[in-house]
Symmetry: C2
Subunit: 414 residues, 2 copies
């Protein structure tokens, strides 16, 4: 084994999820246990913390608090949306990163994020190689959108999917309480991929699912949409619709941004968002009482109804990244290879090249969406259902969530 | 004991809560166990089910499914918002109700709802007395708004409060993830009373609470509001605000409906609601990135994060109503008398006159709100905290909620 001694940095990047901190916990706890890793440093707000020399000494944290990271939504170390320049055009940031790495003798770099974060990882890794600075760089995936290429699924997705399915089932109960007409539109995150909006259909397993589901994988047709809703509403007096925020017309225009004559008077759509706009149009068309509900940030931080499977896999991804790096691996992203044969779900980690995610957004296969483009087929359910299993088991204080409380002691010296 | 033999009817009315079905379960199971109650009938959509002769035979239900009612949000029998006329003006409905009561020999009537439902109870009771038809009428309280007079608190409130506090704590984590500015406005139900909006402050017990809380008990001043937000935002780069949907100006105009010159351009506020409108105004004032989040129906049907205390008390209220009626009581509402002395919470039922709730909305005492009118004082926390304790313990199937599935067999004959 090619043993490399030195410090490690763990950074978190991009939008929060319910379990990105579980991955950080996996990295931190595994790294703290390695003889060859001399220090474990947490970067404040991702790569910005490296550039700003704002690094937390993770050995100062109470181990019991580190254990609570798996139950704590959002990024405990802080996140960023900082995009590194092409090093051939401007290598200022890279020089600075190398300087910090040298200052703390950083030989391991773990970056926890989505597409852009893997790109950051890749650029840093290539630069360090070019400069003959030995440093093992590993990506740990996360995104609620589940659009990362090269992995069966992505930590963070399943907990959001479970939040969405649970909330849809509950809202269905509420929206069916009167014997008067009611149409409910639920707006779900996912700008380009419909994994989350499709997960609303899981609510049907409780007997209380949406009647219609619209994903960005299928071009949206407003007339057809209104006809779909009217048909169900006329037949049953109720209709529950789940829509992805990313639904768009055939020309690529997002429905949420479109200001056609049909949507005139709704020019302030950015105020209330897509659900409110669609609800208003349905009201015009059917006369129904309507309610637009945007799940907003709630769906990506709802750790109280997270998936234990998701938490465990997020922990595993972090652990696997450290173990692989210590064993000599670099330049890889931890991914999942899963089998669902005969209804038995098995998930194992694999190591994929960092650029496997570049420029590819993994979308819902067209054949997992029904022909009419307004519902989900069984293979989608079979894919997602194993991922949402298990209660998070999150500890409470005063019957409210007990989140990790980190001291975040800044490193002041070597 | 004055034993009265005959059938009973249970009806649910008004807006759904997470635990109104627990009260129905308490009534149904207790009634089924009484020798003097010959049949237990569930009214479809409250008093409308009586008027329409749509009554379900509850003895046909699987007892295991009845047990699941306590975990099932919304009104399983169906609800209504039907207001009975003054019987001195128009007694058509009352004659019909008497006819149905006579048809099924109904001698017990339990009605589960808020202010209007207690009024319905009261009118029916008085009419039956006038017609010399012996029938014991009992009100079982529910409302998420907690504005019922004559009771320490109301079943349904605590579960909604717990949902709100949990969600606020999670959103706080999410909204603090970047080192860039961010203002979040969370809109909470409660048109005239601020019990729910105030409960957002419970999130502070997790270390992640709102910076500002606005209740309808205090007149709203837009300039002061924007100044409050700006002050906190300028100092910390973040601000999280919880507002009641019912905040209003000194002249009584709801902020959500006001179209002053200051809100021009936001005339479509009904589309996105109050949170979106306030967020947009804060953006104009501070330049901050903003996010308006409306908890909408989610907060009143979120049984997955309900309060076990609330469920137990809702069950108890239903049981107490039947036991009191069988013992000879009529014309009463079940209420709670609670003690919190020395931090020990004790809740007991009492029986109050049905008209105790008439024309009175119980509001948050002014002294439980801070002097500036933008936050909550400790007595409010001490009042609410015992009510949200305990996990609901709701069973799952596929890791999703397992709601009660009632057969709802219509009664076709005596």
């Amino acid at each position: 084994m090619n043993q490399l001694k030195g410090a490690c940095i763990i950074g978190q990047s991009g939008g929060p999820t319910a379990v990105i901190n579980a991955s950080a916990q996996g990295v931190i706890q595994t790294a703290l246990a390695q003889d060859c890793i001399t220090r474990v440093l947490g970067a404040a707000h991702g790569i910005k913390g490296v550039l700003d020399d704002k690094l937390y000494d993770m050995s100062q944290e109470n181990p019991a608090e580190l254990d609570l990271l798996q139950y704590t939504p959002s990024s405990a170390l802080g996140s960023c949306r900082y995009k590194l320049a092409d090093p051939d055009v401007d290598d200022t940031d890279y020089k600075r990163i190398l300087e910090i790495f040298q200052k703390y003798d950083v030989r391991y770099f773990f970056y926890n994020g989505g597409n852009d974060s893997m790109d950051t990882c890749n650029k840093i890794s290539k630069y360090m190689q070019k400069m003959n600075y030995e440093c093992r760089v590993m990506g740990v995936p996360k995104t609620i959108d589940n659009d990362l290429n090269g992995t069966d699924h992505c930590p963070g997705f399943a907990s959001a999917a479970k939040y969405i399915a649970t909330s849809c089932a509950e809202v269905w109960q509420d929206a069916h309480v009167y014997d008067t007409g009611m149409v409910t539109v639920i707006e779900i995150m996912g700008r380009h991929a419909g994994w989350l909006a499709g997960s609303a259909a899981l609510a049907s397993l409780t007997g209380c699912g949406p009647d219609l589901v619209y994903l960005p994988e299928v071009d949206f047709d407003m007339d057809q949409f209104l006809a779909d809703v009217k048909r169900i509403y006329d037949a049953t007096g109720k209709c529950m619709v789940a829509v992805s925020e990313g639904i768009h017309y055939a020309d690529g225009t997002f429905v949420s941004e479109a200001k056609t004559s049909a949507t005139d008077g709704f020019g302030h759509a950015q105020l209330g968002g897509l659900a409110a706009m669609l609800a208003e149009m349905i009201k015009d068309k059917t006369g129904a009482k309507v309610r637009g509900i945007e799940l907003s940030l709630l769906q990506r931080c709802g750790s109280h109804v997270g998936s234990r499977t998701d938490i465990d896999e997020a922990l595993l991804a972090g652990k696997a990244a450290v173990e692989a790096a210590v064993s000599g691996t670099t330049d890889k992203m931890v991914a999942f290879k899963c089998s669902r044969d005969g209804g038995t779900y098995v998930c194992e980690t694999s190591l994929e090249p960092l650029d496997i995610v570049a420029n590819i957004e993994k979308k819902v296969p067209r054949e997992w969406i029904n022909a009419a483009g307004n519902g989900i087929e069984q293979p989608f359910i079979d894919y997602v259902l194993p991922l949402i299993q298990g209660e998070p088991g999150n500890p409470k204080e005063n019957s409210l969530p007990r989140f990790a409380r980190l001291k975040k002691v800044l490193t002041t010296s070597m």
